[in-house]
């Protein structure tokens, strides 16, 4: 019990340190990047107006003072109001969270559904001709940017056949095309990683022993190879999840999907510091929990890791 509490406590501490470091780094970077007061005042505004706006938002205080106020607010999860639309920044960002998570989970799901079987197939016998063909196709897919895939899918399924909507929020099937786009964009990398891991396991002693003992190929793959390949697979999936949360902005652009990536771009363009801080905070928070889950998966996948503390 005490062990458990200690573990939980240390995790919480890690979370706090993580969020604190990220928020502080961001705080400094943002102050380097520009003065939002000028942008808010508009073209040709007088210096008095600009100073008045600065005072309003506390930008006229010293950097250290601003930082203290900032930390005090963040601790209470108060990111202030968006400089642009005056809504509470955290609330505003959280409104975009459901649709972002929706797309992210769907993309990871379909990515895995496509990539893991394909990767296993490829890695099991990488030298076979037909598997080489898949490898070539994967290369082609790697060379095609996500927005090309997206615009192509829209052209085919939305414009020519009119089967699927291309705009977010219209109808129940609006998630299909953006999910497909992201899955096709992310799958090639996952296929490669899975294939390499599986191939590596086929060269291990335990695998050859099991085979020599007469195990079926499918059983071999599923019970012996896959768990060991799970490690790098999940670590890549975790990295992809983190990317999708705030980085899928080109796909979000094209499909008008209300995601955190779009918010991030807009708030950066508008130098909307509170929204930027809130977005990054939320993303970091989510990534931390995904990492936690992944660490547990690591433990399950490789019993030898259970001993050591991750």
């Amino acid at each position: 019990m005490k062990q458990r509490l200690k573990a939980v406590g240390s995790r919480l501490l890690q979370l706090v340190v993580l969020l604190g470091t990220i928020s502080t780094t961001l705080f400094l970077l943002l102050r380097l990047s520009g003065d939002p007061a000028i942008l808010l005042a508009g073209e040709g505004a007088s210096p008095e107006t600009i100073n008045a706006i600065r005072a309003d938002y506390g930008f006229d205080k010293s950097l250290f003072e601003q930082y203290l106020i900032f930390i005090w607010d963040v601790v209470r999860l108060d990111f202030g109001r968006s400089l642009v639309n005056s809504q509470p920044a955290l609330g505003f960002v959280l409104k975009y969270l459901p649709s972002t998570l929706h797309l992210t989970f769907l993309a990871i799901l379909f990515n895995s559904l496509i990539a893991i079987p394909a990767g296993v197939w490829l890695g099991a016998k990488p030298t076979q001709r037909r598997r080489r063909v898949l490898s070539a196709i994967v290369s082609v897919a790697q060379g095609t940017p996500a927005y090309v895939i997206g615009l192509l899918l829209i052209q085919i399924f939305s414009v020519w056949f009119n089967w699927l909507p291309s705009i977010a929020g219209t109808g129940t099937w609006s998630w299909v095309l953006p999910t497909a786009t992201l899955s096709f964009a992310l799958a090639p990398n996952l296929i490669r990683v899975v294939a390499a891991s599986i191939e590596d396991t086929t060269r291990q002693d335990y695998f050859r022993t099991a085979k020599a003992n007469g195990a079926e190929p499918r059983v071999l793959l599923i019970r012996h190879s896959l768990p060991n390949a799970l490690l790098s697979t999940t670590s890549l999936l975790g990295a992809q999840f983190a990317f999708l949360l705030s980085g899928a902005l080109i796909t979000e652009y094209i499909f008008a999907w209300p995601g955190l990536g779009l918010i991030l771009v807009q708030s950066i363009t508008n130098l909307d510091f509170p929204t930027i801080q809130a977005t990054v905070f939320v993303v970091a928070y989510l990534v931390f929990f995904v990492n936690l889950i992944m660490d547990q998966v690591f433990r399950i996948a490789d019993p030898r890791l259970r001993r050591s503390q991750l």
């Binding site: 600009i50 706006i53 809504q87 705009i167």
Partner: protein, 508 residues
């Protein structure tokens, strides 16, 4: 027998339509128009925080009205004000339109306007873009009677009615009780549509049938589609009825999809302004003129704006009051350019650097590259850096440019008057990049001249002088392109304000 055939034919047609038509046919009762726009106003329903123009205007035109509006010829037209008169040099009297209601039932009258102007002149209001940049001179408003008000300005203002086209009137009680932030989520105006919901993916509005400009449709949906390619695809697939801001190169695709293109000249001149205060080659007027001659503006307008744009001859466009038809500007003449450069001592060419922003105009990135290429042909190397608006504004405000030139748009909207660009750009009080005492005096004279004819003459004189001094490389007059789907009628746009009330779908 024949009836059966007709019946089965009709059923098959209906089935086919359902299968291939994609969208389920809209119910006959609710007529919805959908528009794809490049973006929604970041400040949502708060019309004071946005500068006049995109992206806000696509939304605000449906919700709000101002006292006046300026038409495509630069003439000030009645809107919520029906008549106006100048009482003295700093006071204008406006007669307000009667029988106008806000979408929440409040009555539009002098109190509403006073409330709006009171906010504008308040401490908070002065921090908004409208209060600080567009109407900094307005000092207050006074009620004379229920439909008569007087607006006062700090200094003499000959064109206050035109300037007030930038001020949207908000429902007074709603504004007062809600405050800026809450109002932004549920704005109330006198326009044809009322906001139902502002969500992350769209703004949905329902018709306000009691509006003084009641709409023909029942519902309006504004969808932000930032990517130009997917905006067009949305139109092609029928997901939106119309689209704002398409590229000139997409016109062919629009026509192929049996949709129409609507071109509206924008009251904006795209230019590369010269930092004449800083020392460098562009302080010499001959160099500036040479650069103007060196660029083939007609070809740019013809080829990069699909033949719909025009080369810019001066700082304003024909639809703006103060445009001088007699000013020829700088037609393409590379030999003359070289001559002038040689006379200025740059026979062996020169290098200038510029900071530009791209993405605000159709084809602007292509235009700048063409300008660079044209200049290279007369021996001028143009090194440009693309910057964001957030980087542009501070440097523009204080003229702290490191380069010799910067991208500048000479915008006359929404007041449609040449005084706007000339007053702003010639001898700007803080951070001027160009100043000529004679021209500045004329600009100030124009601001005070109340006689319309005399004023126009002064503006035209300014056009001649300023163009001759070439404070900028005027490139092209900008255009706004809209694409309208099949079965969409009644569309028109004026200074980017779409007249939503006239638009309807169906058979003509």
């Amino acid at each position: 027998m024949r009836n059966k055939k007709i019946f089965s034919a009709a059923v098959s047609v209906a089935l086919l339509t359902l299968l291939w038509g994609g969208q389920a046919p809209a119910s006959a009762e609710i007529k919805t128009i959908t528009i794809g726009v490049p973006g929604l106003p970041p400040s949502q329903g708060n019309p004071f925080k946005e500068g006049p123009g995109t992206p806000g205007i696509h939304t605000y035109a449906a919700i709000f009205d101002a006292l006046t509006r300026v038409d495509s010829k630069g003439v000030v037209r009645p809107r919520l004000a029906t008549r106006w008169k100048s009482i003295d040099s700093t006071t204008w009297r406006f007669t307000l339109r009667q029988n106008v209601k806000f979408s929440n039932g409040e009555v539009f009258n002098a109190d509403a306007v006073i409330e709006t102007i009171d906010f504008l002149t308040s401490v908070d209001g002065r921090k908004t873009v409208i209060g600080s940049t567009e109407l900094p001179d307005v000092t207050g408003a006074k009620k004379i009677s229920e439909y008569l008000i007087e607006v006062t300005t700090k200094t003499a203002d000959a064109i206050l009615p035109a300037k007030l086209a930038a001020l949207y009137i908000v429902a007074p009680k709603a504004w007062k009780s809600a405050g800026q932030e809450v109002f932004a989520k549920a704005p109330i105006g006198t326009g044809p549509f009322k906001v139902d919901s502002i969500s992350t993916t769209r703004i949905e509005l329902t018709a306000f049938k009691g509006s003084w400009r009641a709409p023909k449709s029942d519902k309006l949906i504004i969808i932000p589609l930032a990517d130009a390619a997917s905006r067009l695809q949305a139109l092609q697939s029928g997901q939106v009825n119309m689209v704002a801001a398409i590229n000139p190169d997409q016109i062919a695709a629009v026509k192929k999809a049996s949709a129409r293109v609507f071109v509206v000249p924008a009251p904006q001149v795209m230019s590369l302004a010269f930092n004449t205060i800083k020392s460098g080659p562009v302080t010499d007027v001959r160099v500036r003129q040479a650069l103007n001659y060196a660029v083939n503006k007609a070809e740019i307008a013809q080829r990069l704006l699909a033949g719909k744009g025009k080369p810019a001859t001066q700082g304003v466009t024909p639809s703006v009051l103060g445009y001088n038809r007699d000013v020829q500007g700088y037609p393409y003449d590379p030999d003359k350019a070289k001559e002038l450069l040689a006379a200025a001592g740059f026979a062996n060419g020169l290098t200038i650097s510029a900071d530009i922003t791209v993405g605000s105009f159709p084809s602007d990135n292509l235009i700048y590259q063409t300008v660079k290429s044209d200049l290279a042909k007369v021996g001028v190397t143009l090194n440009y850096t693309t910057i964001t608006f957030a980087q542009w504004l501070p440097q523009y405000n204080t003229n702290s440019w490191k380069g010799d030139a910067f991208g500048l748009s000479w915008n006359s909207a929404p007041r449609g008057d040449a005084s706007r660009p000339y007053a702003i750009f010639v001898c700007k009080p803080v951070g001027a990049f160009y100043c000529n005492a004679g021209e500045d005096a004329l600009v100030k004279k124009a601001a005070l001249e109340l006689n319309a004819i005399k004023r126009l003459a002064i503006l035209k004189e300014i056009a001649v002088k300023v163009t001759a001094s070439a404070p900028a490389l005027y490139i092209v007059e900008q255009i706004d392109l809209y694409a309208l789907g099949k079965n969409l009628y009644g569309f028109s746009a004026n200074n980017r304000a779409i007249t939503y009330e006239n638009i309807y779908t169906g058979t003509k």
